[in-house]
Amino acid sequence: MTPKLFAASTVSLLLATVAQAADSGPIVIGVPVGLSGANSVVAPSVVQEAQLAVDEINTAGGVLGRKLQLEVADDASGAAGAQKAFDSLIYQKKVDALISMETSAARNAGLPAVSKGRVPFIYTSFYEGHSCNKYLFVDAWVPEQQVPPIVDNFAKEKNAKTYFLIGSDYAFGRGMLGFTRSYIEKTGGKVVGEEYLPMDGADWTPILSKLKDAKPDAIITSTAGGAPNVTLTKQMRAAGINLHYANLAVDEGTAKSMGADATGIYLSASYVTGIDSPENKKFLDAANKKFGADLKTPNDLSVPEYEAVYLYKLAVEKAGSTDPAKVIEAMPTVSFTGPRGAIVMDKQHHAPLTMYLGQVQSDGTVKVAATFKDVDPGEQCPNLK
């Protein structure tokens, strides 16, 4: 063998081995989530669902023969923390995908790193809509899916004509209530008040006094999850306000921790633990078996995480590799039937979802009052192919 041929074959052998190693190690999924800050109450359930999905998939043989691995990072529920978390996951841990639930502030801060690092990102949190990026996919609801069931129910079943809107002052709060206002006005109702408090504000007194003066038929709120929900509801009940009350941002877990004050609250969600389907039963059994007493109630913020991991698995298998360009091309075409039913992110990177209108009972559970099948997310990202 000539020296040149020897050198060439050694180099190509080395390259092949390196390429082989890259293709046979674990597939790393990064989960930037609010372990501290406003989302810290929900984050544990999100991490649990991701772990459950990863364990199930690995037990069944992994993805393309490779095991899935989770890398969890704290984004402190905000923009500054998200920048650090995304940078460390994308550039240090070199994750193959990001799958997580975050505040809108955190998501918006992380998107530039996602584009630059070319990492598929499945966002599993409901949000205010219209966040568009070719690497971003959303398997949770947007206002077009969550709000109409509530407003329609209030207008038709309860004859509500005037509404008072209260929210936290950030993208989600303002986005949701902005959409709610236009939907109410489009369907013939009237908004008699719209008030916001900063995300960490705890004193709703002046707003509640304004609400009392305005005498609306119904209240719709969209605060940040966790503490703001609790303080608003507690203070509202203490002020003796017992009007029809729909909360766009509360989940079963938070509702339970509010105790008696939460009774009667309406919520509209794509997941409630009471969904009567074989997939949901199988899912709940597996979750209870894996986590036992430590299980954090699966909710509308954590179940989409479970399904998103499966959707990523299906996309990688269809694409035949973890190459970002191939994966994002396959992503809108794969369908996974999970606890929430069949999920396909084919409407401009968003997914049609079945929505459930529920009411919190006095024992903290949520009773389903009405079901709306496959609600369309509307025009979220018309500029995406």
């Binding site: 960490d200 705890a202 007194t205 006094s209 609790v230 009940r237 203490a238």
Partner: protein, 277 residues
């Protein structure tokens, strides 16, 4: 009417939250930045009391005692060694506050704690239905204020404390055990903070970070009031009223910062704030 009640009850709540901080600032001449953490400790004492099956009201004495004891430990181990370095002592209390918050999160988890309200419902006050608990806070603030005044004007400890506030070196030279006065004051201030934490539970979500939101407001009020509890009451009324008025007629977002902005303006114009001493 609603507006007037809102102003009075907001002022009352601010007073209850800040009076502990005032006591510590007056005598020890440092700002206890762990004040928010002590509010949280108090609230969690109420949580524990309920878990043990006691009446939620039992949380009040338990919190005061627990807060005072922990305050004593903090004063002996952290504040006293830093006696000659007050700026470092202030920084140390900031760190202490963070540590306490994390310890509570480790012990109880980050979840919001459920605790039955001390009082619920509304009562008719001159043509408006108002929250019974907020009206109770008015009386609580008056009661705490009166007890505080009696202690400072009528007891030996109060006399020694006033001497230390006026001039610590002179007080020591007169034979007053200033170390004991500082310890007792810190314990009372911490106990009052914990007590305030219990009183806050029906108004806010009980989680490891609940005290932080109150710290800045309390700090600003104490800066304006300097060492006088009457000045603190006046400050709470004026600034609390401004907060409610701005929130009602301008926007709640601006209302949230009105206490801080007004305090800064007032101190710029008159550095002694509301206190006339």
């Amino acid at each position: 009417m609603l507006l007037l009640l809102d102003i009075l009850t907001t002022a009352a709540i601010l007073f209850v939250v800040s009076v502990g901080l005032l006591a510590i600032f007056g005598v020890l001449k440092i700002v206890n930045f762990a004040h928010g953490a002590w509010l949280t400790i108090g609230a969690y004492c109420a949580v524990v009391a309920v878990k043990l099956g006691l009446n939620p009201w039992a949380g009040l004495p338990i919190a005061f005692v627990a807060g005072a004891l922990l305050g004593g430990v903090a004063e002996l181990l952290i504040i006293r060694p830093l006696y000659r370095r007050p700026l470092d002592a202030i920084l140390a209390t900031w760190g202490l506050g963070i540590v306490i918050g994390q310890l509570i999160a480790l012990a109880f988890g980050r979840d919001v704690q459920l605790i039955p309200n001390l009082m619920s419902g509304t009562v008719r006050v001159l043509s408006v239905d108002y929250s019974v608990y907020r009206l109770f806070m008015l009386f609580a603030a008056l009661a705490i204020g009166v007890l505080f005044a009696l202690t400072i004007e009528g007891t030996r400890l109060g006399l020694s404390a006033r001497a230390v506030i006026m001039n610590e070196t002179l007080a020591r030279s007169l034979g007053i055990d200033t170390d004991r006065v500082r310890l007792a004051t810190f314990m009372i201030g911490a106990g009052l903070a914990a007590l305030a934490g219990v009183l806050l539970t029906p108004l806010t979500s009980v989680d490891p970070n609940m005290g932080v939101a109150w710290l800045i407001g309390a700090f600003m009020l104490v800066m304006v009031a300097d060492t006088s509890y009457l000045a603190l009451a006046a400050a709470c009324l004026v600034f609390g009223g401004a907060q409610v008025l701005v929130s009602t007629f301008v926007s709640p977002v601006l209302g949230g910062i009105s206490v801080a902005v007004l305090a800064a303006l007032l101190l710029r114009i008159n550095p002694r704030g509301f206190s006339r001493a």
